[in-house]
């Protein structure tokens, strides 16, 4: 296991990757990516039990499903830096003939991606299916998923939430990125989500919270706590509060950077706030 400083360095480097990726193609979703950087770094480098070799058969290792596929920049950066594919390939993000599509897909065979996502609200159902396959296979590994909070407005989630609790899918840890923002504004203005944790609870989930999803140690501790709650008859939900655009001062406290890339000057400012640690791609 890497030490905390090494992971913190990785967080900073991933933030640089995100910013440079979206800047190069003048498109993509930096806000949510920056907000979930600690989560991805912790999950892939500290929490999940992964097979070396990255054979993608899905058997005998923990699995992760990204439901809010638009935060592909953070997903790609963390996958590449974990060894799923060459880090240089981040250069091809959103370009023609790339495996790094705007939203993650399996179609181009990018290692680490197990299902296409981007059309929102579908990831939890897929994660439940994968968790059930693990049970059938006698595979004691866990399934993790991440969902945007705005994404919970899609009704399919609630079908899945009801199913997972009703059928004791207790090898699943679903995390909700509670950044309170979506494209058109704050989630509470666009379509109020109310008390997300309470909603999961009344559906029958074991719910816990990570109060500051941009505090690496809190995220690691929270995910470890979640693991201990699996296998007890209930699916586990983590409501994780994050700041969209975290790590770049002018991208925080607004929904403006949900799906907008920085210009040259903004990139320079943002990168200065996140000095190079492990080497740019």
């Amino acid at each position: 296991m890497p030490n905390t400083q090494e992971l913190q360095d990785l967080v900073t480097q991933v933030r640089r990757d995100i910013l440079r990726m979206v800047h190069k193609v003048n498109s993509g979703h930096p806000g949510g990516s920056l907000g979930c950087t600690e989560f991805f770094v912790a999950l892939y480098n500290e929490i999940m039990d992964l097979k070396e070799g990255f054979d993608m058969d899905g058997i005998g290792e923990d699995l992760f499903f990204l439901s809010n596929g638009h935060i592909s920049p953070v997903f790609y950066s963390v996958l590449a830096r974990r060894g799923y594919f060459p880090i240089d390939e981040l250069n091809t993000f959103r370009l023609l003939d790339s495996r790094l599509q705007g939203h993650p897909t399996t179609h181009e065979g990018l290692p680490g991606v197990r299902v296409a996502s981007g059309s929102l609200g579908q990831g939890m159902s897929v994660a439940i299916g994968a968790a059930l396959a693990k049970k059938l296979n006698g595979d004691n590994h866990l399934v993790y998923s991440l969902h945007g909070d705005g994404e919970l407005q899609e009704g399919q989630n609630w079908e899945a939430i009801m199913y997972a609790a009703g059928n004791k899918v207790d090898n699943l840890i679903a995390t909700v990125d509670r950044n309170g923002q979506q494209i058109d504004g704050s989630t509470e203005d666009v379509l109020p989500l109310g008390d997300v944790a309470e909603k999961f609870k009344v559906f029958g989930w074991d719910v816990m919270e990570i109060e500051n999803g941009n505090d690496l140690e809190q995220v690691i501790a929270g995910l470890k706590e979640a693991k201990t709650r699996t296998g007890k008859g209930k699916p586990v939900c983590i409501v994780m509060t994050t700041e969209m655009g975290n790590g770049v001062d002018f991208m925080m406290h607004t929904h403006a950077w949900h799906g907008k890339a920085p210009n040259d000057e903004q990139l320079a400012t943002a990168l200065a706030q996140n000095p190079e640690t492990l080497g740019d791609y």
Binding site: L63, T106, A116, M124
Partner: protein
């Protein structure tokens, strides 16, 4: 002409159920999902014999399609079943993204397709599903004609690696294909050789085509009848060989003429061998309540309608 005997009327959905029973006994990776329609889909025996491999998802088809996609990760072969209307249009985006685009080995098994669902009416009678599903890249689309063929198709698609849409129906219809006939995906079946006209039919309309061919024979018209159980990938070679011989074609299906088998056939003909063609299909309309026979009569989907279409197309040769 070649004689076919009805071995006793049965519903094609029971063919699906029988196929699932066999798969339950022979293929440990096959799992079944259903959205509150176990009895309608005839999968009671599979569930009884393999309770751990069955997932009741409730009235939640979107979640069912996503779960089916997830179950493939780890090597399961999910058969997700409900009525055709709820297995396609209702969950098109789930199928498109989580199954088709993601290349997942999911079998979407859809009963009560078309007008022959009957009295429940147009809310449940989908006539657009073949079109919806054939447009998805990588999706195989199969519409077997009777009990035996539906059972054989159910068993065969478990061996095919990739998403499949298997469409069948509610009413009891003639069961006439051989009980032991091997089902080859994408391979058209020549049911009757003829020289004057080619009738290309799928699903419930195959038997009706045979009845039409018998009647036509009495009028001195030799009709070739082809059973296209697989609409995608289409057996272009079989269609072209027959059209070259007869010079005119009638297609017959329990589906809208927009987006169905007929359009797929006309694309093949237009590209390689322009040939007069008549379409026995619904004419861009919704259905309504009624008995299956009444509906097939009213909407022109029976042997009489096929015969009339043959007489029309012969004049265009």
């Amino acid at each position: 002409m070649t004689k076919y005997t009805d071995q006793g009327k049965q519903d094609t959905r029971s063919g699906y159920g029988a196929g699932m029973t066999e798969l339950g006994r022979t293929n440990p990776n096959v799992v079944a999902l259903c959205a509150d329609l176990i009895g309608s889909l005839k999968i009671e025996t599979f569930i009884e014999e393999n309770p751990e491999r069955f997932f009741q998802v409730g009235i939640a088809e979107a979640n069912m399609m996503g779960m089916a996609a997830g179950l493939t990760i780890g090597g399961k072969i999910p058969f997700a079943s409900t009525f055709a209307n709820f297995a396609t249009g209702r969950v098109y985006d789930q199928i498109r993204q989580s199954i088709a685009y993601s290349g997942k080995n999911v079998k979407i098994c859809a009963s009560h397709a078309g007008l022959t669902l009957g009295e429940d009416g147009a809310t449940h009678q989908i006539l657009e599903d073949i079109g919806l599903m054939k447009m998805l890249p990588g999706m195989t689309v199969i519409n077997p004609c009777d009990f035996n063929q539906t059972k054989a198709a159910t068993i065969a698609i478990a061996e095919h690696d990739g998403p499949v849409y298997l469409r069948f129906g509610r009413p009891k219809v003639a069961n006439f294909t051989p009980v032991d006939q091997k089902f080859e995906i994408g391979k058209a079946l020549m049911l009757n050789e003829g020289t004057d006209v080619t009738i290309i039919a799928t699903g419930h309309l195959v038997w009706e085509s045979l009845l039409a061919a018998e009647s036509l024979e009495k009028q001195g018209i030799s009709a070739e009848v082809i059973n296209i159980h697989t609409i995608k990938p289409l057996d272009d070679a079989a269609i072209l060989a027959s059209a070259k011989k007869t010079g005119c074609v009638v297609t017959a299906e329990e589906h809208n003429f927009l987006g169905g088998l007929g359009e797929s056939v006309s694309r093949v003909l237009a590209s390689h061998l322009p040939t007069p063609q008549e379409f026995v299909a619904t004419q861009d309309t919704f259905g309504e309540s009624g008995t299956p026979d009444q509906l097939m009569e009213k909407y022109g989907l029976n042997n009489k309608a096929i015969e009339a279409a043959v007489l029309r197309v012969l004049k265009r040769k």
